[in-house]
Symmetry: D2
Subunit: 346 residues, 4 copies
């Protein structure tokens, strides 16, 4: 009954099993093995294009290494003020980019618009030596507010970015959750919309620790291998990183897991939204729910043993995962309803 994050869960059994399968004999180290190659091929199929994919173990590594390929140290990376890269990675992007500036662009519900980006770029001082130089845009899909950019929104942002010579990165820590919510093809939500580089997350959706940085324009990846090694993120026994991704992509496990997490979030959101005194701070579009709850309800839920984070004021954050039990989600709603009734009776 822990809704604190999708990283408090363990790993999907299919992925654990793949580790054991990968544990056979000697294999070339540092990514020259067959499993790593197979993951690359699977990703090409899934994204319907040639690409360069690099497994790493954490989302912060994926994001920071990706951004380091897109911006010089004197560059600006535009992102939402709530974005994980800006607020939750202890400055990892600044570390890997050697000091680039994350320039926040605000907007409602965790998203910024192409229009705001365009207005910001107009005053950014491109080419003027006194100012950091616009270099990249990073969008989070799912956002930190649990919302999702529509394909049209992504396309509009990418068009503005590309028009000004900026590269576009997507932080896809919850890529699968966004994808199944939009019901589109992976290519539609990425390179066809103008995404140049994707942090393709698997950890939150059932892996132990596995992400892939995917470059849809392979030329942009020229130095990535050096950066990854230099960052201490090149695994010697790469097979165990790749095997997680291999199983994750196998038989649509990744999509199945994400659909389940999203469905559990919908149970929470639908159930809570009906209760008196409960609002939705952000629309629940994937596997995160941000209800605004009366203080006694928050305390009652905590007392009942439910785990979750307070987000801001009366808003709490509930996150569901690939293995959240439907009974747990329903129990949360039931307890909240009970507390609402008790409050009404006072």
């Amino acid at each position: 009954m822990n809704f604190k994050s999708d990283n408090v869960t363990g790993a999907a059994p299919e992925i654990l099993a793949a580790l054991t399968r990968a544990n056979t004999g000697t294999l070339p180290s540092y990514g020259e093995d067959e499993i790593t190659k197979r993951v690359g091929e699977k990703l090409k199929d899934i994204f319907e294009t040639d690409l360069a994919a690099f497994p790493v173990a954490t989302g912060s590594a994926a994001n920071s290494l990706a951004l380091a390929e897109l911006t010089p140290p004197w560059g600006a990376v535009y992102c939402h003020p709530l974005s994980h890269i800006h607020t939750d990675e202890c400055g990892a992007p600044e570390f890997f980019t050697h000091g680039a500036k994350l320039a926040p662009i605000d907007g409602p519900a965790g998203k910024f618009s192409a229009g705001t980006l365009a207005a910001t770029l107009k005053g950014a001082g491109t080419g003027v030596v006194h100012h950091v130089q616009p270099a990249a845009v990073s969008v989070s899909q799912v956002t930190e507010a649990g919302t999702i950019y529509s394909l049209d929104e992504l396309k509009a942002i990418a068009a503005v970015a590309h028009g000004a010579g900026l590269a576009v990165h997507m932080d896809g820590a919850r890529f699968a959750n966004a994808l199944v919510a939009l019901g589109c093809r992976p290519a539609d939500m990425t390179w066809r919309a103008g995404i140049d580089v994707l942090s393709f997350g698997a950890t939150k959706n059932g892996a132990l620790a596995a992400e892939a940085v995917i470059f849809f324009d392979k030329k942009r990846a020229a130095n990535f291998a050096f950066r990854r090694k230099r960052g201490g993120h090149l695994f010697s026994k790469m097979r165990f990183l790749s095997a997680q991704l291999d199983a994750y992509l196998d038989g649509d496990l990744w999509l199945k897991n994400a659909r389940h997490a999203n469905a559990m979030a919908a149970i929470l959101a639908d159930g809570l939204a009906r209760l008196p005194g409960v609002g939705m701070t952000y629309p629940a579009q994937a596997n995160e729910v941000f209800p605004s709850l009366p203080e006694p309800m928050i305390r009652g839920l905590e007392a009942a043993g439910f785990g979750f984070y307070r987000w801001s004021g009366q808003t709490v954050r509930l996150v569901t995962a690939y293995n959240t039990a439907e009974a747990d989600a329903r129990a949360f709603v039931a307890k909240a309803a009970e507390l609402a009734r008790a409050a009404a009776a006072d």
Copy 2:
């Protein structure tokens, strides 16, 4: 029959099994879980002292993050020219230390001496603003030449270093192999000898991807948690990193594995040393053997399907692992003997 490295192997079954055991229910993320705490306690027992231990996934991360705590950006880190940090990590230490200088100190068989270190420090310009400032010493135990520092050698180096105000780091990627070779206690080979920080390797000795950075003086670790996070090396599902270390340390698995690897190397070294035309470039003291072989023998072994690296000139490197089959080691020696006989018959 692949002797290329101890990272071409998979993982010990005991460690794989621990991952499955760790996959139960929700657990706090980012290292606040019980498994991580248990690993810390086990390490305190094993090293017979209080300490601060931080799991990371790669040896380059362990070394670089450790060194970054020991040197300012304008510092010098003294190490052997063959050391992994100097030659095999694509500048990771320079990246994490923000540009400190690795200052090589030469010496035979992969080891430098306290005397050479002292002489170097005398001319280093301590306190003079034009020069990088001596900050740390890094010793590799096992060295890149497969040799081992004696406890007296370590103590002498640490005494010189501490006398000049430098911290001492040990790259223990093959720590267990050195330990069982010396037959001493972990404390003797580390803090009792003057080691301040240890990269405690497990990956090469049976883990999938797990190391621990161990600070014997916890005050030195003040900023480590921020550096690890900022480097993208803090795992959200830390349980899976810690579970590897937990199993590694359980029931002396780590020592058993190392003893086996060393024994296999001894079979190779003893068998090869007896053959005509074969010399030992470095003494084989742990799980690496560096024989100098006649060119036709090298080619013959390669043709027979044995995997190994050419080190330099006629010297090749053979590495054994926790799971090297005795039959494979003996087959290698037998083939070499056969090739030696054939050559003699010519």
Copy 3:
């Protein structure tokens, strides 16, 4: 008739003359000379305290080197969104701090308040490994909006900062202009108000290229000499940098120069404020004036050969210097008045 900046001017004749005086015989290099020592002593007298002072040649160097002593790479430096360090130094602070984050705190007229700082720090995640850590506050005195913090405002900000363990930096590129405007003692506007480190500017007020970084707590300066050298900012013929500061501080030249510049700005501000259609975007408190002018007046002034920058919308920036001719200031006002009359006559 160029009001673009106080750096379009040359140097005060007294300072140029000092360079020739300093050009006698051989002197120890790299700051071991008598002139540099004398500047240190003068600054101690002027600031009525012991201090450590380091000459450098540019304001960006002064600010960035100072901040690098105050924040770790994973630190946050709070500053106004308009501040020079945030917007006009191409990321120099990020470079010298190895990637610290400049965290803007907004407020009217180029100033932020102690209250806003306190509220920001409350939510900053101190001690939480996922977030950059609050490390320093930087105030600009004069601000980029030409305004001045009162002594009480400075004290309140420093109290909040120190209460949370943060150091306080003052960007004093126009320190003298603020000082004579407040009419207080240098100590009052700095260490007595809680300023820990000061970028003491001279270039904009009559030097060729000379600033001093002043630490009121010498312990904070422990590594500054190494940082300055490593940044390429330690002059071999330091006498020529110090001689500028020496002359600048001699016989109150610095205060005389600043008083003149401020007086010229007052002529502009007073004259313009009286004209119809003219507003003051920020109060003119030192040597910068930010009037909002009707578009035809802007164009008319440009056509008449007056140099100035458009700030934003109808607001322009006029900067006066130590040697601005009173006739030029009056000519500007007269032309503006003529244009205002012409507009009224239309």
Copy 4:
């Protein structure tokens, strides 16, 4: 009678006078002024080619900013172990390059050979992700040993470097001294020999603090302006930096100054070489002399008030400058001769 360095002197009167001449009226700041443009044109004439020139104030800034344009953070810069960039800049190149590795290549008398460079590059692991990547070569002309590369030696080094895809930098802190010693054209000693980027020194040869970074291939300079600004090395009142270079290049002042310094060094070298017990550790080819002197002679010269540095063992370093008095040079030789006679008489 101070032969410690060519930076213990002041500035040439012609250069000081130019500062006063430059102090007329307002001029665009940050290098958009006419004086800066004129320096660029003069350099094109002198080097007989199109080029991009950037004034900076110190040699460390010039070298480090230049190298930062030539190597990625994971690059290796090959240089002599005695080179200034490797030993005397407190790691400035590592700072500006974000951690590139300076890889020393040894050779006699401060010079390394094309052959040694080629052998080193062969084993450097180009393209292998574990190793830093060969990126640039830096030669010092004059070297730190006071010697000079011949044009053929430079060409051979550049040919090896370019053949392997490396850029070639020349640290020309004493460029003029080398040029007049070789008696060749500036173009011959630079781009015609294969030099891509030059740190063109003026400070040691009569300027107050002025160097220029010169790119013979302008495309390589694409980011230099951002790096210079970000490093705090873009002067707002650039006229005063450029005016020094302008006067330095005027009427061959730079060559005249260098010829004088070299002639004074020749007086020292020729006079000392004739004395019994005196050897020359390196051949004196420019304005530095490295004689090996008997200990009593060293002490006697020190007692007589002559200033110089002990280099190593019995070798001392004597440096002459553009304004060294011939009488001082002759007095040094005479005193040494007197001490030699006294020693012989004992």
